[in-house]
Amino acid sequence: MFKLDEKPRVFLEEFRVKNAPDDYGMADEKWDFKKFTKKFRIVIVRMDKWEMEFDLIGLQPAFANAFRRLMLSEVPSMAIEKVMIRNNTSIIQDEILAHRLGLIPLKADPRLFEYRLEGESEASEFDTLEYSLKVKCTAKSQNKDTFKPEDLYENHNVYSSQIKWQPVGNQASIHKEQDVGPVHGDILLSKMRPGHELDLQLVAVKGIGKDHAKFSPVATATYRLLPEVTLTRKVSGSDANLLQSCFSPGVISIDSEGCAFVKDARYDICSRNVFRYDSIKDAVILSRIRDHFIFNVESVGALPPHIIFIEAVKILRNKCKTLLEELNKI
């Protein structure tokens, strides 16, 4: 029989998902920190300001999941929390407008701010950012030949770029306007017509995704297991083409002799299309590596994704630290 190398796997069979017979689950291994450090590997695949993909290899699913959960709901970011409405004569209601404003991603680095304590009413320069939004829609001098709103009205669209930062206390000397404003300037907030007016005071604070999703620093943070496709026999001719069509593009390639080979199974979506064809279904083993996690982190804009991951791990470490300190006091 065809022999695979030794790795913990789950097999994707035609009608079921099967664990390897000699694999009793990683939960049975005894804990050994040295063994962990020896096995654990990190590979960064792709990284820029907004998105990154990296692999954590040789890790318990519990840790991978903890990191994912931390990125989503416990890494802080700044978001508009309170909106003081002095005047709103537009057709969008106060509470809807306030909610919309809350969801605007802000560039401000949450690491430079502190949490605003509960019950504290005074805003300080260390925990609060204030903005104002004052827009009035007016009619332009009549131009009879056109019906386009941009020719007829001034300020008929309100965009996030019109939000003005107002430094509290000493903030002007620490932060720059372009570092604390909205990440995107082209978010449409409201549409107005002559006579409509907005006059708002916005207050942004530091918070975490557990409290409200607007505080989450990531758009997505997911992991999946590394897919693996193995061919157990030679597949050639029209079968090779059929095999290729069963997988995502780039997974199966065909060499000069017309034989199919697995090029790169990493980006396979793990559909089980092959099992529809009797002629080739015995030629493949589909599986996933159980301790190889492919993370995908997409930032909302305040922090680059690699910082978000570091912050997440730091938060877990600090949780352990505070609990240990408490235990040692007793």
């Binding site: 005894k30 962990f36 990190i42 519990a62 791990v313 877990l316 352990c320 630290k321």
Partner: protein, 105 residues
């Protein structure tokens, strides 16, 4: 949470059975810490049972149960937290070096 408030307490009822079994209540924690910690402690040599539960989804706390053969449960909890801390520190160090390497190329 207010400052100086304790995060950790003990559930009553285990006083008669020695030091080897305890249920700890950890405030303001959930599956994130609970599952990761359980995963480490369950794999210790001396541990009979370790599990956690979120008793009610509206209350932000977990009950963390440890039962051992001989070692005091408190010691196991400390060891678990320490090991989890070391895992985090190792991950951070390794990750930072990998990011630096990636940026160089």
């Amino acid at each position: 949470m207010l400052k100086n408030e304790l995060k950790l307490s003990e559930l009553p009822g285990d006083d008669d059975s020695g030091l080897t079994c305890r249920t700890y209540v950890i405030k303001d924690e959930g599956h994130t810490l609970g599952n990761a910690l359980k995963c480490i402690i369950n794999r210790y040599e001396d541990v009979q049972f370790c599990g956690y539960t979120v008793p009610h989804p509206a209350e932000s706390k977990i009950h963390f149960r440890i039962q051992t053969e001989e070692t005091p449960a408190l010691e196991i909890l400390k060891r678990g937290l320490n090991d989890l801390k070391r895992v985090c520190e190792h991950t951070m160090d390794l990750y930072e070096t990998k990011v630096k390497e990636f940026n160089k190329t």
